[in-house]
Symmetry: C2
Subunit: 430 residues, 2 copies
């Protein structure tokens, strides 16, 4: 702080989100004192190229040297919006050691090194807030850490990736194939040049790791989360699923059972009247189930310049209040337990299975018998002839342990006289 | 606190919510130290009749004398779950003066005297938290005060009364009349013996006053809120509305416009694909629109023993964290502006109007001409003959200033040769 009690803030990164934080901060600046009891200013912005002209931003604010910020003792808050693991991890670590508070939107970092960084923040008595790292502008971390703190949370389930939700919405509404819907998403700027992290479920997996850690008070990292993407979903799957009264969504879901924490991201069939089924386009929504509160849902824009900046700004304001009351570090990591992670193959699931089979008596019986052998009953089945002697078989199973079902699938693969192709395998919610 | 750093809590009231808080507290007790750094115990419970046996609660905890609690200096937190204005207002005032922190679920009190109590809390540097006073277990106050603090909030709109939402859901799903649906709600315990506060919109109005005060940083009290109930809604209205692709919900809505704050509770037509349209039964949902975040929604159980206790428990945990960090009073009232209230008659609305009219040429033209005279165009119109020489006319208008529309209605009342009866008048969302 300056001698006049002005909180000083540095932003690391001036991309989409960084620019949004700067703009939002300027528009909110005059109300900060009324909201927090302190005034604030942006003192420095770390950029790669200080010479690049940037409209509306004084060149004197720009630096390409993090040390200028780190060693400026008047800077109280670092807002890290660069993304990626390094150098963000090093910068945040050094900033905390130097006694600065940190606000970050970095889900990659928090999903992988969140534990170590939050421990450090606690050790040095500083805030490390990361509301923007999950579901953009939607308030979800603070509600879970504070409002729902009196609950034992048993499940967190959500649509937390806007890109894939846009693609699946297009496929569902307009019958598009995956590749066409992805092209459309790229055209509109919803998908990045390399869309892997989104379409393979990694982005959603990182957010789920962060949410699960908070929900269950036990550290869950990205590598603990099973991820499966949506690139194998076809327009044909969507049509069948629709006829069965369902939609396909990329669902991130974490549960605590007696055996441990299950955490997975995958395309999943939801009944059309499930509240998440109506979350369309780039919107996100997160369900949280607690023993006292029952089901709650949080909905809004999960990405974008200003929704993400909104979350950062909320964190900045909270840090300012904590600075004023000398209580930074008031809410720490929250992971005070060590709950084991349940491997995906041990979890219980239901499946949607689409296969190309021989169209003759005994085939369905043989398939049902294999499933029966691993204790699975078939809940719903549709068989349609496709060409001479062949048929498409679509079925939905009852609940079964994943590894048992995979055993059945292996058996199917060897039944080459009856089963030509296993076209799709998608999990079904509950 | 005791000398061993044990936070001591007193509960005022042991009804549905008070009993829920007690039970939830006991079930969470062992995790409190891990969550807050302090342990806690319930030290006293204020009841009317100390002799009444209460299962699972040690009689030594019970007292019928508030002074026992007020003068016990080891008690740090008062949880007020008695409801009603008095004696709650006096007790909370005295408790704050005595340096105690307060958690309350009391919407009547906060909607009427919230300003004075929050000012007092700020003055004495103590917490007065009231998450449970709006929408039960749904996190909404803290998200608005903290997560969305970086936004200029322009609108809050929600379904915040479970009883009326249950009644309207029954009317919509099963074609019931209001009185039958109310009887069903009473039978299931969703409606109180005297349902006035719910069905006339007063309960929702109180919650809206609290939400609007937080959203706009300007005190809005219950008497500033226009309220209209649902008892005049008929099964016939619901049928017409359904045909028009809409549903009727009791909507609480507050907006800040250039002219001031509009705050009203009324039955309202919503398009069937509006996110609030799918909020059914006793569930609640609140939409918040901010300039940076766009639209966000918060959904869950808005009432009931444990959802409400969940909100109280979240507040208790937050106060405990503040006690530990010596920062009680960290987030105060937040009303730092004085924005005038815009009277309902000055607001701009759309209307659904159902009338019994003479079935002859010129009637619709005369009606349209009266509406045209106040600058209203008709957006949608349905006319059906009912009996010899009569017809039912249903229309939806474009936007019009409420007072102008009321002028047109007065004109209609004098057109007795053409208009027999104005059966329904319901506002339409946007």
């Amino acid at each position: 702080m300056t001698e006049t009690n002005q909180v000083r803030i540095a932003i690391l990164g001036l991309g989409t989100v960084g620019g949004g934080v700067y703009q939002l901060f300027q528009s909110q600046k005059d109300s900060l004192e009324a909201k927090t009891g302190l005034s604030a200013e942006i003192a420095a912005i770390l950029v790669r190229d200080v010479k690049k002209p940037r409209e509306g931003i004084a060149p004197s604010l720009l630096t390409d040297n993090f040390d200028d910020i780190l060693h400026d003792e008047t800077i109280d808050i670092i807002v890290e919006v660069m993304g990626g693991i390094e150098p963000a991890r090093t910068y945040i670590t050094e900033a905390l050691h130097a006694g600065k508070n940190v606000v970050t939107a970095n889900k990659d970092l928090m999903a992988t090194h969140g534990g170590e960084l939050l421990d450090l923040a606690q050790e040095v008595g500083r805030d490390l807030l990361f509301e923007a790292s999950v579901a953009g502008g939607i308030p979800i971390i603070r509600p879970m850490k504070q409002c729902l703190a009196g609950n034992r949370i048993t499940e967190v389930m959500g649509i937390v990736n806007g890109t894939t939700n846009y693609i699946l919405t297009k496929m569902d509404d307009e019958g598009m194939e995956f590749s066409d819907a992805l092209a459309k998403a790229t055209e509109l700027g919803y998908a990045e040049a390399d869309p892997t992290a989104d379409i393979e479920g990694y982005d959603a997996g990182r957010k789920l790791a962060i949410l699960a850690s908070i929900a269950f008070h036990s550290r869950v990292t990205f590598r603990d989360v099973y991820t499966e993407g949506i690139s194998h979903i076809t327009a044909a799957d969507i049509r069948y699923v629709k006829d069965m009264g369902c939609v396909i969504k990329l669902v991130a879901i974490a549960r605590e059972t007696e055996k441990g924490i299950e955490a997975s991201v995958q395309p999943m069939l939801l009944p059309a009247d499930h509240p998440l089924a109506s979350v369309k386009d780039v919107f996100n929504a997160v369900f949280v189930r607690g023993d006292a509160v029952g089901e709650t849902m949080f909905y809004g824009r999960g990405a974008g310049r200003f929704p993400t900046a909104s979350a950062c700004m909320g964190d900045i304001i909270d840090v300012m209040r904590n600075i004023r009351f000398y209580c930074t570090g008031r809410i720490g990591c929250g992971c005070y337990r060590h709950v084991p992670i349940e491997p995906m193959k041990e979890t219980v699931q239901r499946y949607f299975l689409r296969m190309q089979v021989a169209d003759r008596p005994g085939v369905l019986a043989a398939i049902a018998s294999v499933l029966g052998g691993v204790g699975v009953s078939i809940k719903q089945v549709v068989q349609k002839p496709t060409k001479a002697g062949q048929a498409e078989l679509v079925l939905i199973t009852d609940q079964v342990k994943e590894k048992d079902f995979l055993d059945a699938l292996e058996r199917f693969k060897s039944m080459t006289d009856m089963i030509q192709d296993i076209s799709s395998l998608i999990r079904v919610h509950e």
